[in-house]
């Protein structure tokens, strides 16, 4: 059992949770993920590690209440326990040896882009952080992201923060203005990662994207997380989650990600466990 030490609502849709998991905290590196299961009947769901503290023995996850299982996770409060919490899974990001990087986060992806920016910043890499949200109410980690970047660009789709545009708008401007990036990291919705990769492709800038597909075991057994990279089958759980953004087959990825959309709707309509849990709480 894994205790929830701290729970904070970052905005109406996103929650930050600090979980007691000393063994994972000792080993976690940027880019790695955990798999959680709330209770005996729950799904196994992967989430990238947003932060960890080896001394306190804690692992931080940030999640968007988007599907059934993340909503169920959000019913837990400080002092409650998750049944299963396993990791650190996946290969750590390779961040050494870069001079200037653009780290791009889209929405919930900022939770994962932030530790990457921090790691690069700590190693002395010059970091431009570009974060995009649908509107100003959804902004998270603004202070944190700005602290670990040399230049920080905060974009909103609707311009409600006074800076209208997509992350690609800012990235393109910087590249055209001569920002000499030797690394671009893009983490967020698949269409955003694809758009960033398409933008950097003609410039030949190395672009890393982080995958979070459907998984079960997360240890290279089930094959559910497979995607096509450079024409070959790869498994996000052991070969990734980071991949070369210019090689990923995004069409296939997007179609695979909605495999269980119908099931998800059924679960939501049924909703019995969420309601039951809500009544208990």
């Amino acid at each position: 059992m894994f205790k929830v030490i701290e729970k904070t609502a970052l905005n109406p849709y996103m929650t930050k949770m600090v979980v007691e998991a000393p063994l994972i905290a000792k080993k976690a590196k940027p880019g790695q993920f955990i798999i959680f299961r709330v209770d005996e009947y729950g799904e196994r769901v992967p989430l990238t590690i947003a932060d960890h503290d080896a001394e306190k023995g804690t692992v931080t996850i940030i999640f968007q209440k988007v599907g059934y299982s993340t909503k169920l996770l959000d019913t837990l409060n400080e002092g409650d326990y998750l049944l299963d919490f396993v990791g650190p899974l996946g290969a750590p990001s390779e961040l050494e040896g870069y001079k200037k990087a653009a780290v791009i986060g889209g929405g919930a992806g900022c939770a994962i882009a932030y530790p990457q920016a921090k790691a690069l910043h700590d190693m002395g890499t010059s970091v431009d952080m570009i974060a995009g949200f649908r509107n100003t109410d959804l902004i998270i980690l603004e202070k944190e992201m700005s602290e670990v970047s040399d230049n920080f660009y905060l974009m909103t789709d609707d311009g409600s923060n006074g800076n209208k545009g997509f992350v690609t708008t800012a990235l393109e401007q910087n590249i055209k203005n001569g920002a000499d990036y030797d690394l671009v990291i893009a983490i967020g919705p698949v269409p955003m990662m694809r758009a960033v990769s398409e933008l950097t492709r003609p410039y030949g800038i190395k672009t890393i994207v982080s995958m979070n597909p459907i998984m079960i075991d997360g240890t290279g057994m089930c094959g559910g997380c497979r995607l096509t990279v450079g024409g070959k089958i790869k498994f996000a759980c052991v070969d990734g989650p980071d991949f070369d953004g210019h090689e990923v087959d995004y069409n296939e990825l997007m179609k695979r990600s909605i495999t269980y959309r119908n099931n998800e709707q059924t679960a939501r309509e049924r909703n019995c466990r969420l309601i039951r849990n809500a009544e208990v709480n």
């Binding site: 997360g218 240890t219 089958i233």
Partner: protein, 464 residues
Amino acid sequence: MANMISNKTAMPEQAPDVRRRNFDEVATGYTEEMAIQEAARCLNCKNRPCVSGCPVNIAIPDFIAHMAKGEFEEAYSVITKTSSLPAVCGRVCPQETQCEAKCVRGIKGESVGIGRLERFAADYHLKNDTANITKPESNGHKVAVIGSGPSGLTCAGSLAKLGYSVTVFEAFHTAGGVLMYGIPEFRLPKAIVQKEIEGLKKLGVEIKTNMVMGKVMSVDELFDDGYEAVFIGTGAGLPNFMGMEGEGLNGVYSANEFLTRINLMKAYKDEYDTPIIHPKNVAVVGGGNVAMDASRSALRLGAENVYLVYRRSEEEMPARNEEIHHAKEEGVEFRLLTNPVRVIGDENGKVIGLECVEMELGEPDASGRRSPVAKEDSNFVLDVDAVIIAIGNAPNPLVRSTTKGLEANKKGCIIADENTMATTKEGVYAGGDAVTGAATVIKAMGAGRKAAESIDEYIRNKNN
């Protein structure tokens, strides 16, 4: 007086048209009378060929002699001297190619139903639990076992009986490995597996779940923690795919994923959140036990048509005879000498068909089986909404890739001495699918047992 009826006492089973729509166990097991009657078919012959056919060398005629007298608990004791999971083996061992293949009664009729008798003795014990398991006296030495599948559990059980303090590390949330995630409920009830594991715990075996070794802890760190030897039984890994067009479409599963969703994650039960596609028409690619399990599971999820697509003929199928027989009885349609060439999808990326080509058998290949060759212009399409690929897997890479000094072959299988199961790293032993690639439960158990003997010898020598 031996029972000279030439056929095995029939195993009571659920009728095919009933069981194809439920997940309850297919074979319901012998009654006491049936067990005694079948045990009496054993001639108790002098040279005991059956024992040499058993990978863990169970004293088969001895346990059967007890059964013939109705001494079921005594029979169980004989079995557990060398086998750690008899209720499992009695159900899933390929007896027809092992102990029963060597049975003298098999020359003129059917062999003695050794597997069925083993199952009865084990079930009798689990049901009556007459013997109290006592924890052996500790010898003060610690051993770590990575993976709680058949090889790991056997190794752990064997060492615990010798007084070792054994910790088993399991990556999943439940112990049992392939016995839990792979083999379906209707062939091996999960309650039985858990009871066997409870038995090991009573021997003092400690099981730690949610521990992905190689990630959360390395093999070297286990030695630092005071473990004197490590057994690696990490089992099956990355599933193989055909490498054909369309394998990324929605509705294409590896058998590992399909079966894990059903068996471990209980997608077939309403109260569980695990999603799964409930396909109407399914093609399962492969001819092994896993392909049979996937086909029969698809029927139980409500599929109307299940096609088993296999590129050779039935003779070459690696599945147990009983599984093939059961699958056919339940209505799985065998498309033999047929090879898939492409999965066809609709505009939303969902599977709508599997294009196949007819095959004919040519010259024998390296495995001695006649290799299939495609017939020209024989392509046709099976209308299916799901395709399950059951053509084996490579060993799990996590421990191998994070342990210095642990060597593997080109296929990624850990190199281990076949007699001692010692790897290229001192104090580290390995067995099961992690070493052999996909094989059987009982072979993995045999390896686990051998490794336990070697580990015992290694630790005793080291401390002398």
